[in-house]
């Protein structure tokens, strides 16, 4: 923790590290030393082991049931949800992490994806394209909307851009809510049919969590692979260059506007994809409030907490925050209720009364002791 304590003293008055010439050197040296600590050819890397763990999880007979009997939580089903939110977070990471643009409206694209998928598949509409086509259209549709939003607003800087994305998010949420003829308002569209795959019957999608688990896991892994390659590609490096210094990047011949636009489009498309999966998994588009500003903030917290611009960090952040809210909190709640310590019916001994407090303290403490995030990207710097 030495670094965390020293830094504030050294630059306590300074919000911009780069102004101090001397401070720049150790920072740079640290980056160099951090590079590739793990032998690249090793098959034992975390990148291989963790996917393997997740691939194996449902195959181990009785594991899910054993966990269920211990925790009363259907772990496999919750993991599916975490995979979906991971896709959303990876999408947000493209804009915020790689390109350094603060985006507070990712939930809007998530919602657009969910509603496009809903409209194209539910029985009350005449389209009924089926899952795969709808998902593809949702992904592209959300991406296109991302371009439409980003094109006129890219010249905005920092927090002004953040506010535009926030505003867009709210406009989308209210539009979904108010355009009742199209979106069924707060009632939500339902039921969304299950995906169609050969050899898998409609019923088994619903009974067996594993089909959806593998579908989302496969998509997540594919996206992770894509992002890993994209990170090192011309475009990925251009994103980072623009984040670090837009002027210098432009001087090197990078078309900053186009680079930012592509980041926006990709992030919106991934959010749309996640939205489509989310709605299909829940067989309903839920309601407009599932796509509100809170959702955007929490996703942003996930990626900052994990480490901006780092794929591993993003996944860890989602696991911690979404995992806390959907897995850990219900388990703790159950334990406290069963333990019977609250015989006197005190409101201070009810777990749900403390939920926001614990969630907030988690955010504060992690940022306090790991201000760069839990698994910072090698190149990440104050942006």
């Amino acid at each position: 923790m030495a670094k965390d304590e020293k830094q504030p003293k050294k630059s306590s008055a300074n919000s911009d590290l780069r102004l101090q010439g001397a401070a720049l050197l150790p920072d740079y040296a640290q980056q160099v030393s951090k590079r590739s600590p793990i032998s690249p050819n090793s098959v034992f890397r975390a990148e291989i082991i963790l996917p393997l763990l997740f691939l194996l999880y449902p195959l181990i007979p009785g594991l899910d049931n054993w966990l269920f009997s211990r925790t009363n939580t259907s772990m496999g089903s919750q993991l599916t949800l975490i995979f979906i939110f991971s896709i959303l977070a990876i999408g947000l990471n493209v804009v915020v992490g790689y390109s350094g643009l603060l985006h507070l409206g990712i939930a809007a694209f998530f919602g657009i994806g969910a509603y496009i998928t809903g409209i194209l598949t539910v029985p009350s509409y005449p389209f009924q394209f089926g899952f795969w086509i709808a998902l593809a259209i949702a992904t592209f549709g959300a991406g296109l909307l991302g371009v439409i939003l980003a094109a006129p607003t890219l010249r905005l800087r920092g927090d002004y851009l953040a506010l535009v994305t926030l505003g867009f998010g709210e406009v989308v949420r209210f539009s979904i809510r108010n355009l009742e003829e199209i979106t069924a308002g707060t009632r939500g569209l339902n039921p969304l049919p299950s995906p169609v795959l050969p050899f898998v019957s409609e019923a088994s999608w619903k009974i067996d969590y594993r089909w959806f688990y593998y579908l989302t896991l496969a998509m997540l892994l594919a996206i992770l692979w894509l992002m890993r390659n994209l990170e090192r590609s011309r475009l990925g490096r251009a994103w980072i260059a623009v984040r670090e210094d837009e002027l210098a990047a432009t001087c090197m011949g990078i078309n900053a506007a186009r680079v930012k636009l592509s980041a926006f489009a990709l992030s919106a498309a991934l959010a749309g994809l996640a939205g489509g999966l989310y709605a299909t998994k829940l067989t309903s588009t839920a309601g407009p409030d599932a796509f509100d500003f809170n959702r955007s903030m929490i996703m942003l917290c996930c990626i900052i907490l994990g480490g901006l611009g780092s794929l591993r960090g993003t996944l860890l952040g989602v696991l911690i925050l979404i995992g806390f809210d959907n897995v850990l909190a219900p388990i703790l709640d159950g334990v406290i209720q069963q333990s019977g310590i609250n015989a006197s019916n005190s409101r201070f001994l009810v777990f749900s009364n403390w939920r926001m407090f614990i969630f907030g303290m988690t955010l504060i403490l992690i940022m306090r002791y790991r201000p760069m995030g839990l698994l910072p990207a090698r190149m990440a710097k104050a942006a």
């Binding site: 965390d4 504030p8 050294k10 630059s11 306590s12 008055a13 300074n14 919000s15 911009d16 590290l17 780069r18 102004l19 101090q20 915020v96 603060l102 607003t153 905005l156 800087r157 927090d159 002004y160 506010l163 535009v164 926030l166 505003g167 867009f168 709210e170 406009v171 209210f174 539009s175 809510r177 108010n178 002027l247 500003f293 903030m297 942003l300 917290c301 900052i304 901006l308 409101r347 201070f348 009364n353 403390w354 926001m356 407090f357 969630f359 907030g360 303290m361 988690t362 955010l363 504060i364 992690i366 940022m367 306090r368 201000p371 760069m372 995030g373 990440a380 710097k381 104050a382 942006a383």
Partner: protein, 331 residues
């Protein structure tokens, strides 16, 4: 006979038309008045946002929840002082007391939060304190839940209770009650004093210097940490003052009220040009007006999207807000 009959009929119709026209104007003015009153409340909250942003570039999402805690403290004090149903003199004294205690509480709380949560993160990436601020917001919301319970609370209408709800504009159809006057009579002086303070006092100058360049300010012998602390204190104090006025004016408080008010205040701050004190005031007034006119003429359910659509359009044409300077961001 026919003509004598038609004449009054005609004049009657004409006066009816004029009547309707003047009525339209009255309604319009009434909406504007409501908008400006609400807008000055938004502005007061936005000032706290914008001052903190101006000095450490932190979007303090916990500001709205600080405001909420201020409302709860005012509510507790009110019961404690026994103001409900009290006579006019004691009520005025009581309101005065609350208006002193709550801002002090909010200011100190804000400074404490800065000390404990934000100060260790001064050298960290810009988005780290943002997450902490969101965390603080959740914690404060939970405190509010324990403090005031989950349901909406009615904040007794102390002003109308003593001064009655009569119209200050005499028999004019436009309603301007002592409550409206109270909002304007307290927010406007606060804003003027704040502007003068930042413009002319030593501490105000130190604040502006720190906002411009913290390193240079430090080299000039300014104790930057103290200046930042003072900014948090003033920002919190403004939130406290706003919370008392809001509670007396709107009369409903709940543990979730901080979120929406904070969102509007943030919007107001950015709309006016974040970091600019007159900008926050202007932004607040614009949002108040748009809200009132929107719900008066377009429809309540489209009011919020309308505010944000106008915001997007304004920012597309004025990328640094209404009063923001067209300067390049520091690199």
């Amino acid at each position: 006979m026919a003509s004598s009959n038609s004449l009054p009929l005609f004049s009657n119709r004409k006066s009816k038309f004029e009547n309707r026209k003047s009525k339209m104007w009255e309604t319009f003015l009434q909406h504007c008045l409501i908008g400006l009153t609400n807008g000055s409340l938004f502005a007061l909250i936005a000032l706290g946002y914008t001052m903190v942003y101006g000095i450490i570039e932190l979007v303090n999402f916990a500001h709205g929840d600080l405001f909420m805690l201020g409302c709860f403290l005012a509510f507790t004090l009110l019961a404690w002082l026994g103001l409900q149903g009290a006579g006019p003199v004691w009520t005025l004294v009581g309101i005065g007391l609350i208006l002193i205690i709550v801002p002090i509480f909010c200011g100190s709380l804000n400074v404490a939060v800065d000390r404990i949560v934000y100060r260790p993160l001064r050298g960290a990436p810009k988005l780290a304190p943002l997450v902490s601020a969101i965390g603080v917001s959740f914690v404060m919301m939970n405190v509010g839940l324990f403090w005031g319970g989950a349901a909406d609370l009615n904040f007794p209408d102390l002003i109308s209770q003593n001064l009655s709800n009569h119209n200050l504009l005499g028999n004019s159809p436009i309603q301007f009650t002592p409550k409206d006057l109270m909002v304007i009579a307290t927010t406007v002086p606060i804003m003027i004093v704040l502007t003068l303070f930042v413009q002319f006092t030593k501490l105000g100058k130190a604040m502006r210097a720190t906002a411009q360049n913290p390193v240079a300010a430090q080299l000039m012998g300014i104790n930057v940490d103290r200046v930042i602390g003072a900014t948090f204190a003033i920002g919190g104090g403004l939130a406290g003052a706003a919370s008392v006025i809001y509670a007396l004016y709107i009369n409903t408080i709940s543990f979730q009220m901080g979120f929406q008010n904070g969102l509007y205040a943030f919007t107001a701050a950015v709309l006016g040009g974040i970091g600019k004190i007159p900008g926050a005031v202007l932004g607040g007034l614009v949002i108040g007006l748009v809200r009132a006119l929107g719900s008066g003429y377009i429809g309540e359910k489209w009011t919020s999207p309308l505010i944000f659509m106008i915001l997007i359009v304004i920012l597309v044409f004025r990328p640094t807000g209404l009063l923001g300077a067209q300067t390049r961001e520091k690199v």
